[in-house]
Symmetry: C3
Subunit: 398 residues, 3 copies
């Protein structure tokens, strides 16, 4: 066997991730370090095999159900790519064309769509306290359905973004960092600035900053969360970040000063998000059907937002980072000053300079998703990789 | 070979279903008893193979076209699952995105979408006298297209619900009954109550009650159709039911008394539907574009409907069935009193007790659809099953 | 090996099309004669193999991205069929569900959807000067993405209709002609009439007449473009047609007299289109957001259109063609007098007589698209065909 692939397999054999088999992926902080490392290792292995024209199709048939409660291009295609890579056909549950509803029917619909589903990917990030909860309801339903003999297999859930975390994004971000810095072992002591940045379209989900501080604090990095006053994220996730940092020998702190965060940073992640408290309020207003209240809240948030146009990733700020060359991250699409909007999250020249690494960052997502599925579906993933290599079926005929 | 699989093959070898090859599936009563039995047998065999990780992928490429003229989750996913199980990729003909129209163009569009289609699944149940007719137009078109050398293969049509029958649902219902009662041979003399039940959403299709009385009367059962006066189904289908009952040594009768139907019943199927005569009237009003007339009719039907809230599958009624434990059936979703609506078709406690069997009932549908396709596509299905077993390709790599 | 298949392979081996490898398909006149011939040859070979149950699945996994900026049935299903035939799963980029936009983001989105895309098919024909340009932007983006290591493979672009050409349609039309006339070598001197015809739905794209005169002039045919005054096509494409005719030893001329074009024609292609100049004006009005101007233009065009109801493919005109039996072509759907509209492009009796060949004409499109993909993806397509034949995997299990 090829040495590189053997390397991935050897690495897997040293990790303990046996709890992932038949499991699900909700939040990164519900996973052990070994489990996260297993995801990155399998992602790298799958990518390596695809690049070397070795088919990683492990399913002759089977469905990958996607449920997007918000418009999506990147995540939709990443999920479709991941399923396709493993041999699963994507079937979209378009709620406009169906009637998946609250209460009883979540349980029912989850079973009705899963007779031949090996994975369910859900994006549900709009309402605080709802998305992650909904995913758990779905998993509970299909777990019971499988136990009762209704479903031949238990589909694994992949959280494609919820109100709390965006694990496929953050795991892809981290895999990108690992590649850029030459390994997890090189991250200790590196400074990462997760900072708020102004965008004219206020109201962006909190899942990215929360996911980033919940994950990046685990590698011994110095993680700084920066935002204007009033843009706090979920306090529970800050708690997670603090504990992670303690355990990993890194640090976590919050500041209201963007320059402070950028100063000597090795990695910067400037991005707009909505205040957690406001999102919670909005969720309640929606629940009450209070459209006047929602309008008033939006007006208020836009006004608040407009006070912080100086929170931008400018060339000047970038110069203050480590050697002036911090790795710039973004989940995309970014609001680029003078390009996609008048005043945005990032200077056009900064964005342009980092375009290639940004696209590379995104390119890890399909593999991360595929790895999550792979690890949930096979009891011995290392052995399966070995057998796929021995099978030596070409992805593209030759 | 495994004894169980051999059993299915032996059974198939005793049945005569050679007319199914290159055929279509419109109505159950157009099929012989042997043909129906072949569907159930192949469905069981395909399920058994999937459960034992034997791939039943019989197509390396090919499309399964789906055309849904009404929202659908269950049937959509069942069809997608069935196609996927056999190796066909689903391609949805979304009429919003296309222009499939009346007259000449049905013939044309049917051919244009079928160059590589092995199956076409259509749901068209809204207008009396239209859905089944439309399916025949499609089949006539592709049959001629195949004869003329335009289509390499004749796609087989699977009726996913029309104005007359809902064969994939009723065949799945029956396969569930067969499993619950331990074989077709045990159904003789069993009492089945197909009864109307109140739902606040009046206007549900007639295809389920019609399909049930048209199919269940063939097994020697005592089938009772119960509904309030004015909720008659298509008279032609009642005729079918009567003839079936005579031939099978069972019985068929109609009553306007729900209690009468439930009394000592072995199986109950309480469910709302719209009166046939009203649906016929509505179809004509739509054809005339008489929106005032439609509104008036809807008002009238809602008023009529509200008179029958006492038609519900209550705990009290369930106690009157055979040993108080009749098998409760429903095509789902059910209108559950106090859960999905204030007053509905069934008590919440009854529904809850039967949830597991209800989901199992639904789980047969993908396999029934796959069996219909399989039987239309292979001249010698028994031999193909045998060869698939010998091929021994894993559905999930191992 | 089968002699017929060997014939296709032998033919390929005589042609020079090495520039097609890793290339794209924008316009037919950007391709050499050998390259076009290679498309037809591979299309015939793929069809032959499918008809003989030899799988041509060359991808174990991979996506075919489709982007339709206009409703479409025929092309959508042709593209889906072509992808499926080669083993690619279609993933539709529904712009309603995403946010692919202008400027910077074309580059970004093109990369974000292409991580595992082997082909991108785009239909964008509405605005003059936009569609083809957009396709080039996409190709430039993914070419760079591939070079930068972001995309493992460079997806090939297939132009599914742009503002200038409709190459998959015209290549299918031509393959139909070749089959009807028994070979390219028999086309020299044949007269083809590409003529305008009246349809009540004015405003149809110019890509078909432009594509036809840009392609059919290459085979030594006498091509006549006929239309009422004011219905000119893009002058650049007329220039292409003229040069083609000179080079191929055929001819190209324009007339405002439909009878002149039909007289002794071997092939007729009567079809409505909008005047180029008007479409250009409309594009500008849209760009300016001038909805009053658009309404005024539409009114004007409809009035102009109504002056030419005598431009129809009647039985009388058909009698004036070569032996009264010219081959009648149309890209479908046609506007048929007395069937789909009161007065249309063609008499119902003419259309009916040519229905079978018309459907056959359409049936070549999936194979033409598949051939375009095949030729872009394999360096030695002839060898791949040979190996597929040796692999002898059944498309439909047997």
């Amino acid at each position: 066997m090829d040495a590189k692939l053997q390397g991935y397999i050897d690495k897997l054999n040293k990790l303990n991730f046996k709890e992932m088999y038949e499991g699900d992926f909700f939040l990164t902080w519900e996973k052990t370090d070994d489990e996260l490392e297993a995801v990155w290792t399998v992602a790298d292995a799958l990518r390596y095999m695809r690049e070397n024209n070795i088919s990683t199709k492990v399913f002759e048939s089977g469905l990958g159900i996607s449920l997007f409660r918000d418009n999506s291009t990147r995540t939709r295609f990443s999920f479709a790519s991941a399923c396709n890579l493993l041999g699963l056909e994507v079937q979209d549950l378009d709620e406009g064309k169906s009637q998946i509803a609250h209460g009883e029917t979540v349980r029912e619909t989850a079973n009705m769509i899963s007779f031949m589903a090996d994975v369910i990917g859900i994006r549900d990030d709009m309402y605080i306290g709802k998305g992650n909860k909904y995913m758990h309801d779905v998993v509970d339903a299909v777990t019971e359905g499988h136990k009762d003999g209704i479903l031949e297999q238990k589909p694994t859930l992949v959280n494609l973004q919820c109100d709390i975390d965006h694990p496929t994004q953050c795991m892809a971000d981290m895999l990108h960092i690992i590649h850029e810095f030459g390994g997890v072992e090189n991250l200790k002591g590196k400074k990462l600035a997760m900072t708020w940045a102004y965008s004219p379209s206020y109201g962006k989900p909190l899942s990215v900053p929360q996911g980033v501080i919940g994950l990046m604090t685990r590698m011994g990095m110095e993680v700084v969360l920066a935002h204007p006053e009033g843009y706090e994220v979920m306090p529970e996730v800050e708690e997670v970040a603090k504990k992670n940092a303690e355990k990993s020998g890194g640090s976590f702190r919050r500041t209201n000063d963007m320059a402070d965060a950028f100063k000597d940073a090795d990695i910067v992640y400037p991005k707009s998000w909505a205040p957690f408290a406001a999102m919670e309020k909005r969720t309640n207003l929606y629940a009450e059907g209070d459209s006047e209240g929602i309008k008033a809240l939006e007006k208020e948030l836009l006004a608040q937002n407009a006070n912080h146009k100086d929170w931008a990733c400018t060339e000047e700020l970038m110069k203050t980072t480590k050697d002036g060359k911090a790795l710039y991250l973004h989940c995309l699409p970014a609001d680029i000053t003078g390009v996609s909007c008048e005043t945005g999250e990032v200077d056009a020249s900064v964005f342009d300079r980092y375009r290639e690494p940004l696209y590379k960052e995104a390119s890890f997502k399909p593999y991360v998703i595929a790895a999550m599925i792979f690890l949930a579906k096979f009891e011995n993933p290392a052995e399966i990789l070995k057998k796929l290599d021995e099978r030596a079926e070409a992805r593209k005929f030759n």
